[in-house]
């Protein structure tokens, strides 16, 4: 909710007027940019499902690697070396093993909003606040691409690992979820979270007392399903059914067994005014990689 600083909500047109007024003063532009930047980061944390599955790690240039082959930065991450133990007689000795741990490289790329432009006169004619426009047009777009690129990596990993199975259930059931759990545990990993669309989550609301017991069935009837876990696993739902397709339920191991999500510096917000034309955009530089492809699984409902 936009505020005028007194704790009272300001109207959209008032915000717009203050916004254009502030842009006439160069010293105010950086303040607006800072305010916009803070606003965007807050919303990204709330709304991106990737950030709930793999919490982002902020990195700086000093954490990254340069190359003689290109102008970009990459991040090289070590992977745990495999090890094993053997039983021995009291006269025996173990085999020698030369340690050779793999590592993988992830490239950073930019996700940017479009660059928006509007004359200050027309902006004043809007009843909706400009901060709302930024929220609608910038934050949502950035978070969507973040999730979209993550799921492209997941689907590519599934294509390699084969950790995807069609189940006979047509709705989300306890049996279907157990199939997902087994896909992950078959590789000696533990399921950490479940991702599904809100559309599929609606099936959970239809679970009856025979599935969840009288108490929870009663709760669902009155308040809906209000727990953050499902069958003991973290539950993440999304309305982005053009990224997570309905009837596709994903499961992931904990981030330390799965992959990496790095953000290079903070999300940036830029705004400028030349004569009466206001332009603004926001962007972030991220890197997403999946190191352990067996830490992701998917079931597809019939």
């Amino acid at each position: 909710m936009p505020s005028d600083g007194t704790g009272l909500a300001a109207s959209g047109s008032t915000i717009n007027a203050l916004f254009t007024e502030a842009l006439n003063d160069p010293s105010e532009i950086s303040k607006l940019a800072e305010a916009g930047g803070a606003f965007i980061r807050q919303k990204l944390r709330e709304l991106s499902f990737l950030r709930k599955i793999i919490p982002p790690v902020m990195v700086t240039k000093s954490d990254c690697q340069r190359s003689t082959q290109h102008d970009g930065l990459t991040k090289i991450v070590d992977i745990e070396p495999d090890s094993q133990a053997v039983p021995l007689t009291w006269r025996g000795e173990p085999d020698m093993s030369y340690v050779d741990a793999p590592r993988y490289e992830i490239g950073f790329f930019t996700i940017s909003s479009e660059e928006y432009q509007k004359t200050e006169q027309e902006l004043l004619a809007y009843e909706s606040p400009v901060t709302k426009i930024i929220e609608e047009n910038s934050v949502k777009d950035i978070q969507k691409v973040e999730d979209e690129k993550f799921l492209e990596h997941v689907d590519a990993a599934l294509a390699i690992s084969g950790n995807s199975a069609a189940v006979s259930d047509t709705r989300v059931t306890r049996n279907a979820i157990s199939q997902l759990i087994k896909l992950i545990t078959a590789d000696q990993l533990k399921l950490d979270c479940i991702l599904m669309t809100q559309e599929d989550f609606a099936d959970v609301l239809a679970w009856e007392a025979v599935d969840v017991g009288d108490r929870v069935a009663s709760e669902i009837t009155v308040d809906g399903y209000k727990y953050n876990t499902l069958l003991g696993y973290k539950l993440i739902t999304t309305i982005k059914n053009d990224i997570v397709l309905p009837k596709n339920i994903y499961g992931f191991a904990a981030p330390q067994f799965f992959g990496n999500f790095f953000i290079l510096n903070q999300t940036k917000f830029w705004i400028n005014k030349e004569a009466n034309l206001i332009r603004w955009r926001s962007w972030e530089d991220i890197a997403v990689g999946i190191a352990n492809i067996k830490a992701a699984a998917r079931i597809v409902l019939s």
Binding site: S67, Q69, H70, D71, G72, L73, T74, I79, P102, R103, Y104, E105, I106, G107, F108, F109, T110, K149, E152, H153, A156, A157, A159, I160, S161, V288, G289, I290, A291, N292, I293
Partner: protein
């Protein structure tokens, strides 16, 4: 892999449009070559002469272009390319110098010659080809071609 000096742009970037789109999986489009959009709005290398070819300003050798999803632990199966940042091409009027990543150095060039694109690189217009650029300086001892966009 293309070196970073494949394109020496002689025009201010702020008067050019830098169009960025995803790169088709499996495509190799180095900086300095020419790319075209396919029906899925993904960049592919120019293979036949077309007026729609555009100079690649940030190609697939850049880490911001794409990631490769592999199995870093066991190395199972084939790797998959995932377009992340994609490929950026230049659109507009500009001058540039490219090394032989971006032109056919088996051909000869004269000032004012029309240039077309074949197999991702500039080559002389044979008279009826779609012209995308004109020669500004003939190829010298440095084996670089200076041109302006059409």
């Amino acid at each position: 892999m293309a070196s970073n000096g494949a394109v020496d742009l002689k025009t201010k970037l702020d008067i050019l449009e830098r169009l960025t789109k995803p790169v088709k999986a499996g495509e190799t489009i180095p900086t300095g070559t020419w790319a075209v959009l396919d029906a899925n709005e993904e960049f592919v290398a120019v293979t036949t002469k077309t007026i729609n070819g555009m100079l690649v300003w940030s190609g697939t050798e850049q880490p911001s272009s794409r990631n490769t999803q592999a199995d870093p632990i066991f190395g199972d199966s084939t790797e998959t390319d995932i377009s992340s940042g994609g490929v950026t091409v230049l659109h507009g009027k500009y001058r540039a110098v490219v090394d032989n990543t971006g032109f056919d150095d088996g051909e000869s060039y004269s000032i004012g010659d029309g240039l077309t694109v074949l197999n991702g690189v500039l080559t002389p217009d044979t008279g009826s080809d779609p012209v995308v650029a004109y020669v500004m300086q003939p190829v010298g001892a440095d084996n670089k071609l200076s041109f302006r966009s059409a």
